[in-house]
Symmetry: C2
Amino acid sequence: ADTEAMDLARAHQDRLTKPRGALGALEDVAVRLAGVAGACPPPLPAPAALAIFAGDHGVHAQGVTPWPQEVTTQMVANFLAGGAVANAFAAQAGASVTVVDVGVAADLPEAPGLVSRKVAYGTADLSQGPAMTSDQAVAALEAGIAVAVDLIDAGAACLITGDMGIANTTASAALICAFTGHDPALATGRGTGVDDTTLELKIAVIRRALEINGLSTPPASAAPPAVSEGVSEALRTLAAVGGLEHAALAGFILASAAARVPVILDGVIAGSSALVAVALSPHAIDYCVAGHRSAEPGHGVALDHLGLRALVDLDLRLGEGTGALLAYPLVGSAVRVMHEVATFDSAGVTDKDTRPTSP
Amino acid sequence: ADTEAMDLARAHQDRLTKPRGALGALEDVAVRLAGVAGACPPPLPAPAALAIFAGDHGVHAQGVTPWPQEVTTQMVANFLAGGAVANAFAAQAGASVTVVDVGVAADLPEAPGLVSRKVAYGTADLSQGPAMTSDQAVAALEAGIAVAVDLIDAGAACLITGDMGIANTTASAALICAFTGHDPALATGRGTGVDDTTLELKIAVIRRALEINGLSTPPASAAPPAVSEGVSEALRTLAAVGGLEHAALAGFILASAAARVPVILDGVIAGSSALVAVALSPHAIDYCVAGHRSAEPGHGVALDHLGLRALVDLDLRLGEGTGALLAYPLVGSAVRVMHEVATFDSAGVTDKDTRPTSP
């Protein structure tokens, strides 16, 4: 990120007609986006484009979710028909919706709004061995990069991550454990709403996945593994316990950073994918805004590890990009302040800090 | 509120293509708005109208803030010129902005967007006796009612509270102490950013105001005073330690409730005004949505007392309606879901709860 633009943005915030720091976390967002664009004020993050990456998961066979796998395909159809929550939120926010088949376990009919970048018909079962081959993981990464590049070429000034994949909170938790060193018991949640028995099973499955794939989980109290432990190890981890949509999202984030376009992260799937992206390219984090904090415990772990503060925290646990879509107008508001708000000087408003400090 | 419409809204949420409860607090917002309108789905809360009630405070003379009193007038000019943060956020949210002079301590020139309902040139010093006469408090209440009625008559389907008044966090904290029984040390904050010395002074001033006005502050651990302690006592409290903009905001909230239009509350000034409104008419709370939780400790106290959960929590401490404006698209998103999202049946998506529960 451009630290000079960030310094300028911070100084500009302090001249605006409001008490210093009175916009709280939104001031940090505006400064961050100045760093992303290398400009102060940063450009308004509009138009925005949501990409929902859909993929299936071999680990579904372990019974980690009560939802049948076919729901991934059904929800893709729902997105394309405009009937999902993500569509409603995107309409409210003024964001476009693109659905990307990067690994759905069925053949999908062509449809407007559907981009086919299918790498495989779902992953293999991560609790039995690697979920993907290296080639698959890289192909999915490249698919995410290509989608981001296409959206940015078409004019998107802000990307929003979305995902759909029954059982993908299991892969997310496994990635989070592998990248942060947290125990599966701390990073695994109820996803779309599993009962106690299934949650226990899910934790055990993730533990087995980490073991069988040779992914060490040092105690969380120990220092986190160095981010620079290597691109090849990051790719190996992604292939071992990630999903095709996770790989694509990591690529999406990396491409966003490369193009200096901000990307708003949705929930735990995006958070775990961001861990992959950052392991591949540490500076990618500077281009990410955490849209929301989901009810999944692993998401909090990932956000803490990434050093991101979420803008929306309303116990959402839906995915699809819904939390990030809710955050989008907040990001827009933060940037708009930099363009439209008067300074103390220009508005003729007395600044308390230019007066004697005694009352 | 219409509990039948709320039950219908809850049942409808459960049929939508998402896991039950997956929209967290936004599901409660949609249900609440169904109760407000007495309809399921409730109407989209658009267009929205922000009213910024401006007033000055005699307690400013006690040195409770480093900002000079003239900043109230200057900021009104800034709002009217479109240069404040509230203007930028309103533009982002698509809300109209009306500025209401209910008690600014200066004569304001007529201007488009400015409604003159001046009751007095600021309040008296609440630490020396009542801030307002009963007649003034009632007149300011009526001003707020009139503004709400005018905005609703002009088509507003959602009202948003805003405020401007140097020293108004002092009056807010005093109201919160009087209505909730909390000690001033717990309910008083730094407002626009006072130092430790001024904070101590501010707490002492509020303590003196409560004493001199005969407002008991029972220990917060005791049961809160019954809401029904009487309209006359509520009015007396408002007049004693409130501001003209607090009185107007209480009227604004009451009129909103009477018209069955939702009102999004901003920060600590709106929260303390809502305590007044609820003391006058307990059902008014059903029509309120807490837009945000400000950095002021008294605001958390007020929200807890009102039983409201804030939608945005980003350490804002600006006022003007800024926090409520940020929440407005979230409210819109919550309601839009009720109109646009497909049900499991209509979309042909398999619902986990209609299948055998074993995986």
